[in-house]
């Protein structure tokens, strides 16, 4: 059984990497190659999830989710962007992210962390215009590398299981890991790079990079299990950082007019809520954070995808400073946008209503101030997302567009699948919440005491 798991995990990661090499060499049929490679990852991850024991399937579920997102990306990505660089980059990020999710070795985790950022440093692949994304990714990598070096030296092991609960490297390693989280996740004051990456880089691959949620992964996989006692004393500080970020970018988004930057701020604000939930150390808070992880990933991916489709159809000078009236041209894209946007901010009937409910209950119990501020941040995000929706899709109908296509069938089916996920997940949340709840329950009842999320 373990042998099969190893083979399937290797297959899920290696095929996308192989696909990116084939795309780089062959230069043709890029979408087909991307689709096939991502499909193999989806299938392998799905089998792994099916075989995973109850309560220990978080990372397998994340593998399925991320490979589904990459599969969706290969289908939704407009023809104009379907270059070997973009598809190769998506596949490379897919393979690296799955490696990070599946590994139990700190050195491999570092390798996956570095590999997932490589395409964003190379000009021919996915590099953004601004220097800040590269700087943030570099600093986070250096901090993680130093932390792992210290941990390995002090703990005499590289396996996460063997280091569990030992606080290897003490406060220095813990501090460096927190720095890595702050830079990678875009926690205030290191948040500006996320918007820069979204605005200046390719939209869909950048969304994939952000939705890997490596910062949250580091918290769940390394910080909480390895430093249980330090976490007990110092985690509230990171929690306050998270809520400050959620509020700061929530306010910041109110006057932002670039659609891509605005969505990046929304994603950032909601991702900070994930971190606040993970740090709440309550069953509701952690389960809410894990479910919210799923919601934010699907919703922001959908929003970035739709904005890119609009840019391709109506020009890249979209702005929230005036009305475009695009709903007249693309009513279905408007509906998809509204559902994904409102699903991000807790619309009843979507999965985020449940995740926000759990998050606020959890954080209110552990850090009342954070619990009180979370609804305020979410309310501001809701206003921003509705403002963007009204400016892009409502208002006087613009004329002069040469191409007036609504969602194409392949786009429509993929976006409908995303909408169904957030809506059906919201109507029948127990299927998802119960799984996450089982993982949290196991973690909370673990002998070390504080929550540990095991693979």
């Amino acid at each position: 059984m373990i042998g099969h798991a190893v083979i399937l995990t290797a297959l899920a990661m290696a095929v996308p990497w192989l696909g990116s090499i084939v795309v780089a060499v062959y230069h043709r049929q890029t979408r087909v190659i991307g689709f096939v490679a991502a499909s193999v990852s989806v299938l392998a991850s799905a089998v792994l999830l099916h075989a995973a024991p109850a309560g220990e399937s978080l990372y397998q579920a994340l593998m399925v989710l991320f490979s589904c997102l990459a599969l969706g990306a290969t289908l939704v990505i407009p023809l104009r962007d379907c270059t070997p660089g973009t598809i190769g980059g998506i596949l490379f990020v897919l393979g690296s992210t799955l490696l990070a999710y599946s590994t139990q070795n700190v050195l491999v985790l570092l390798a996956a962390w570095i590999l997932s950022t490589v395409p964003f440093f190379l000009e021919r692949w996915l590099r953004a215009e601004s220097w800040r994304p590269q700087a943030a990714l570099l600093l986070s990598t250096i901090a993680l590398a130093l932390a792992i070096a210290i941990m390995a030296a002090n703990g005499n092991a590289l396996s996460i299981d063997r280091l569990r609960g030992q606080s290897p490297g003490g406060m220095t390693a813990f501090g460096l890991l927190v720095v890595a989280v702050i830079f990678r996740k875009g926690i205030c004051p290191a948040h500006a790079w996320v918007a820069d990456a979204a605005a200046g880089g390719p939209a869909i691959p950048t969304a994939l990079l952000l939705n890997g949620h490596f910062g949250a992964l580091l918290v769940a996989k390394l910080i909480v299990p390895l430093f249980p006692h330090t976490v007990e004393n110092l985690f509230p500080v990171l929690s306050y950082f998270a809520i400050v970020t959620a509020l700061y970018v929530g306010i910041r988004a109110l006057t932002e007019n670039s659609p891509r930057r605005l969505i990046a701020f929304l994603a950032l604000s909601q991702s900070a809520c994930i971190l606040a939930g993970l740090e709440s150390r309550t069953a509701e808070g952690i389960a809410g954070a894990l479910v919210h992880w799923f919601v934010v990933t699907v919703s922001t991916m959908g929003l970035f995808g739709i904005v890119r489709l609009l840019e391709v159809r109506f020009g890249e000078n979209l702005t929230a400073s005036r009305h475009f009236g695009l709903a007249e041209h693309a009513p279905r894209l408007a509906v998809f946008f509204a559902v994904f946007g409102l699903a991000l901010v807790g619309l009843p009937g979507t999965l985020s209503f449940c995740s926000q409910d759990l998050l606020i209950h959890g954080t209110l119990a552990s850090h009342p101030l954070t619990g009180l501020l979370l609804p305020i941040a979410t309310a501001m995000n809701a206003v921003s997302v509705y403002r963007l929706f009204t400016r892009l899709f409502l208002g006087k109908r613009r004329t002069g567009f040469t191409l007036l296509a609504d969602a194409l069938p392949r786009e429509r089916w993929i976006l409908t699948a995303g909408v169904l996920f957030v809506v059906l997940g919201g109507l029948f949340p127990n299927a998802i919440v119960a799984q996450r709840s089982a993982e949290v329950e196991q973690a909370i009842r673990a002998p070390i005491g504080p929550p540990q999320i095991r693979n």
Partner: protein
């Protein structure tokens, strides 16, 4: 599950299912004729009325205080549960009846009123979603579930204000209303989470009695914020005239009947503890009195029929708030039902008001004159002018909210944007700074 419980579940879920099915089919490419949504709407709400009649008959024959349908938990984590409880008691049944009756009537009225209108199907979809949200809020047996319905009513209200999406004014006004709703709903969210935190449950029956005096007062004040926002009470009344940009049928059902009374329903639900807190009940009365006076004065200076009616609604809802604050539950309930019915009729007749007047004048043979019966003549000339200016600016409420809340927030946002741009190269920074501007929803906008 007995027949009454099945009927209750059907009443709540039917509009939601119709919305979901029609929306999904449209999303996948189906475009129905106008006849399809009209017939489905008629059928759905007629069946709902019948189902409610059955519930009423069963309750009357058995003498039971209400119907409760429990479905376990929607989701659960550790000790926390989100219970699914639907309830139709003496407070919620009138609201449920009002919702299904008026929604059905509005559906039939709109079939003609919105004939060949762009967005015909959209209107009917939103009507069903609104009815589902309202029914869920009124039939919820716990505050958790009430929040879900409450939020759905809010979002459909905003989407219907922006129904005529080609005109910028309705769109911008919708955004403003959405912002006010979301800001006030924070009170409901925090209040309900605090209730759970203190009482260990958010259900009406079990949660409220467990609160201590101070906790009950805090809880009531938080919910009063949400109720005042939804019912457009002072100081949140500024959104109401903006909401008149929507089509007349939606104005009738939202701001004449159901949505505007949702705040009153929330207060009726917490009335057992509201009356224990002198501070909270006094505040409810003060807000109600201020709103009634505000609505009466501003309504007299409104230039269009719908806005006048909206302010007339506001005045009556203010009086309802006073009745609730005084503890007169059944008077408030009767007032709500009577007011909702009359106001819906007035809203629906508003587009043909001139025609109605002409007909009436022809029938009685003389022009009706109101020349010497104006209330403002009781005041000195200077006071009249002051009141007139005050009424024209709608009590300066929007100006105050803008100056104290919106503009400082926008300035803070711009300051954050400048901080974010530190370290960027010159051209990139200039590009970013040019992209930031004051959104127009922060500016004054009228209907």
């Amino acid at each position: 599950m007995n027949f009454s419980q099945v009927a209750l579940v059907f009443v709540v879920l039917a509009p939601g299912v119709v919305f979901a099915v029609l929306a999904l089919l449209w999303l996948l490419g189906w475009v129905p004729s106008e006849r399809v949504p009209c017939r489905i709407t008629g059928l759905t709400f007629s069946t709902c009325v019948l189902a409610l009649a059955v519930i009423l008959w069963k309750l009357a024959s058995t003498g039971a205080p209400g119907v409760v349908a429990t479905f376990g938990n929607w989701f659960a984590v550790d000790d926390y549960h989100f219970p699914l409880i639907l309830m139709a008691d003496r407070i919620s049944l009138p609201f449920l009846g009002m919702t299904v009756l008026l929604s059905g009537l509005i559906g039939q009225f709109s079939a003609t009123y919105l004939h060949r209108e762009r967005g015909f199907l959209r209107f009917f979809l939103l009507l069903h979603l609104f009815a589902f949200g309202s029914l869920l809020a009124f039939a919820a047996g716990s505050f958790d579930l009430l929040i879900a319905g409450w939020e759905l009513v809010g979002i459909t209200s905003v989407l219907l204000i922006a129904f005529f999406q080609q005109r910028p004014a309705p769109v911008e006004n919708g955004l403003r209303v959405f912002a006010v709703y979301r800001a006030c709903d924070i009170g409901l969210l925090v209040g309900v989470f605090a209730l759970y935190h203190w009482a260990g449950t958010a259900s009406f029956a079990a949660g409220l009695p467990r609160l201590t005096g101070t906790q009950a007062a805090i809880f009531c004040l938080l919910l009063l914020l949400a109720a005042a926002g939804k019912a457009a009470q002072v100081p949140f009344s500024g959104w109401l005239p903006r909401a008149m940009e929507g089509p007349t049928p939606s104005s009738a059902i939202f701001y004449g009947a159901i949505s505007i009374h949702a705040g009153a329903y929330l207060l009726l639900r917490i009335q057992p503890i509201l009356n224990q807190s002198r501070l909270a009940s006094a505040l409810v009365i003060v807000i109600g009195v201020l709103t009634a006076i505000h609505g009466a004065i501003v309504g007299r200076a409104s230039a269009d029929a719908k806005t006048s009616l909206a302010y007339a609604s506001l005045t009556q809802v203010g009086v309802v708030f006073v009745e609730i604050g005084m503890g007169w539950t059944w008077i408030a309930l009767a007032h709500i039902l009577g007011h909702a019915t009359v106001r819906t009729l007035q809203f629906l007749r508003a587009p043909s008001m001139l025609h109605d007047y002409h007909q009436m004048h022809s029938a009685i043979g003389v022009e009706q004159s109101t020349a010497n019966s104006r209330l403002e003549d009781l005041f000195p000339r200077r006071a009249q002018l002051w009141f007139y200016r005050w009424a024209l600016d709608r009590g300066h409420l929007d100006t105050i909210l803008d100056s104290w809340v919106v503009h400082p927030l926008m300035q803070l946002s711009k300051l954050f944007a400048k901080l974010d741009n530190i370290g960027l190269s010159g051209p990139v920074r200039r590009k970013e700074e040019a992209a930031i501007s004051m959104p127009s929803h922060a500016r004054q906008g009228g209907d």
